[in-house]
Amino acid sequence: MKRFGWQWLAASSLLIGALAVSAETRPQFGGTLHVAMHAAPSTLDPADRTVPDSFGRRGLTSLIFDTLVNVDDSGRVKPALAESWQPAGGAQHWQFRLRHGVQFQDGTPLTAEVAASSLRFANPSWSVRAEGDAVVIDRDTSAQDVSESDLLAELALKRNAIVKRNADGSLSGTGPFRVTEWERGSRLTLVANENCWQGRPFLDSIEIEFGKSFRDQMTALQMGKADFVEIAPDQIHRVSQDSHRIVTSPPMELLALVFVRDASSPEEKSVREALGWSVDRGSIRDVLLQAAGLPTGSILPTWISGYGFVFPSTADLAKARQLRGQAHSVPNWKLGYDNGDSLDRLLAERIALNARDAGLSVQPIVSSASDVRLVRIPLTSFDPWIALQELESEVGLSGPVAAPKAESVENLYAAEQSLLATRRVIPLFHLPVSYTSAVGLKGWTLQPDGAWDLSNAWLETAKP
């Protein structure tokens, strides 16, 4: 299951890397990189879970902060701020020895106390303490069996990055760039962290503009106002015909319909199920997504779970009509979508049309006061259990899936099926995340979690 996913990721990354290396020349220091992104986070704190997760936010976090450990393209855990780790006093206690000589961007040294405080802030249920230059994490094992890989995978999540929270509310990290100007949700300016433990980055600074639609991002790239932009799934095919470098991840973003509340009756569940059967995912993929993404009926992509194909993803209008016919009353759903994304609007309108064919009433609206939302949920982790739990949390389900003691495929399937049976989520597609850059931008890569990695990027012709 996991092997399949790692192999896909590794193969695509190798291919990208080979293509990139052959084209690159010697790295150059200096220059300001201009980035445009769709997300508009209101905070830079990676542990703030009130802000929706996004690949762009993850990329930002990786520029400013570091985690104790990282996961490489092959899925292996690599040391980051933690040089090493080992069980301490039993399998439930883990000791992470911090790297020496690491300083925060404000000049203060990284200490075990700060790291432990940061982890406690991000995970209030954890028991984390500092012991000398090491951080000790005591996991509660009464309810679930926590393996080493689970803990490390969680520590590699961006939300577990080590953040020094100063008394004035400012944040400080150990990443390659530090914040110099921050207009909340609008604009961010970063400058190189000269004392970065990984060495000074090539770029002098990065200017990031938030809240840009995909179309505006492409326009900015073509006009030379941006060096690095995101690509909407439906634009991948068209942009690939240009001379820009494109990097595309495996399908790791779930596009789904999420109801804002639980179904109040079995009949309502049936009607929601009818909505799932009515959506013609094939046509949507072919036309609206321009063959990008994979139709799905499962939450986890097949390349992670291995069984995603078991959940049907083809439309069955007859079944949808049958389910709808069994219901005494059919609600008039308001389908909310992201107003800044034209693709989302088209998707919502198409879903409404498909639903109407099944005798259902769906009205696309941009207002937040909706009954059901069309959302994109980035998969958090390659670990299916963690990914499922994080998604549950993201969707707002009341009873998170608990990892059973035996992490078998059968249990994972049962957990996912149980989650889908609530009819809160109707999976539609697993979408890849894609980025493109100006010709002069070199050295940027894609992180395993879909975030961009600009820490080693450089501009071929440095801008003043």
Partner: protein, 604 residues
Amino acid sequence: MTFRRKLLLVFTLTVILSVAAVAWLVQAVTRNAFEKTESERTATLVAQFQREFNRRGDDVARRVSSIAASDPIVRMASALNGTPADSAEYFDLARSMAESHQLDFLDLVDERGVIISSAQSPAKFGYPESAFDNLAGLNQQGAFLKLEELQDSSALGLFAVRATRAGDHPVYVIGGRRLDKTFLSALELTPDMRALLYENRGDRFSADQLIDPGASGPASGENRPANRFQPLIDAVRRDDREMTAVLRWSSDQADEEMFHAIPLRGVGKDRPLLAILLIGNSRRQYVELRRRIRDAVLLAGGAGIILAVLLSSWAAARVTRPVERLAQAAQDVAGGNWNSSVEVQGHDEVAQLAESFNRMTSELLAQKQRLVQTERVAAWRELARRLAHELKNPLFPLQLTVENLIRARTQSPEQFDEVFGESSKTLLAEISNLKGIIGRFSDFSKMPQPQLRPVPVNEIVTAVHQLFQAQLPAPGRAAITCCLQLDERLDPILADAELLHRVLSNLVLNAMDAMPNGGALTLRTRNDASNAVIEVGDTGTGLTREECERIFTPYYTSKQHGTGLGLAIVQSVVSDHGGRISVLSEPGRGTTFVIELPKNAGRG
């Protein structure tokens, strides 16, 4: 109502009706003229709408033809021709082509009628274009009206269809422009006209479907809510024909608008009703003109009526004055003034009438004088007869007594003293009798004038009834019953109680004399409209018609020993009270005397 007032009323009504008729005529002519003008203006606007409709339709058709002939469409048609084509890559083509050719609607449809790309509804790809049953038939035709279904609504537009062929498999380009406020604003309207368009979708009227280019202007908005159009729209939808209605926006009639509703249909077999063009004409000019006419009519009419009243008053007075004189003279004559006459002026019919009246009164006066003279002679004769009769009876004993005295003196002196004594007694008795006769005549001639005071009539009648109560059952005669019927509502009247008592006593005595064989005496009072009425009735022998006519004549009597002055005195007293006495009688059934005394006697 007097003749003069009647004449004045007739004159005035004639003038008012004449003025009203003229006003109505003027208003009718004005209304007809306005309606004719309005009809012409509406026809002009409809023609203008049709021209603009055609011009825009030609423009749409030209743009759609241009799109159909463009390279992207031709390339797409070639790529899709006859192969299991992947049309996904053309999904966004309609939007870009619509933008470049400034069309609001653009659908690219394959030969099966399936949407390849839609500018207005991009999500509709793969769905059939259900609005047309024969796309090939519409190719190369002019523009037509169509209601385009959108995501949450629909929009009215002018559409054209053109086909692009690459081989045997055509691709249809269906393009259109919205028929909206901009289109309506392009119509050249006079300031008091406006044009609106109602998009006919759904089963019920919806104010949101009314396109009003001046919705933000003073002619629309809250003061002119769109739902006022509902009855007109519903009527057009129901009857599917042109209609006209007046919409009243406020209590001011000048705010009224007359709307002409014209149904607009689409293409196809059923030619569905897609929209309704509403052409409104403000009635302000008409209403203001009508008000001016009304004011002028009121002013002229008022002045005319006043003038007519004055003139007709003068004319009526001129006409009615001789008649009034005649009427007054007639009233004088009726009041007893037989010397009244009318001044005769002119020679017209009224003058002839006055002359005849004067002649008639003169003759009546002469006849009356002759009658009075005749009656006076008759009365003297009757008086002489009565006097002769009355005096003859005592004179004869006097003559016999005197002759007896003379004979006794000459033939029997020894018995003269004895005879003288007896004769003296006889003479004195007869002389006394003569004095009594003369005294009664004297009393009649000296009837006192009544002293009028408020008198309760019922009490006097009751007193008379009580007075004779003891005499009714007289010995040697059959009993007489007395019935007293009093009207309690009778108020006191002005009268002389003593004289009235004498009158009633006299009548009761007469009634008792008329019933020697007994009977029933009735005393009745009643309240008439203006009189107090007293009736004295008996069931006696009754009177003949001749007796009834002469019964109140002085010295006339039907009794053997009556003076004939009793009922004459009764009539005299009643007359002095301003009243009237009459007798109703039938021989053998009895007699009833009816006294009518005025309630307000002596007040005047």
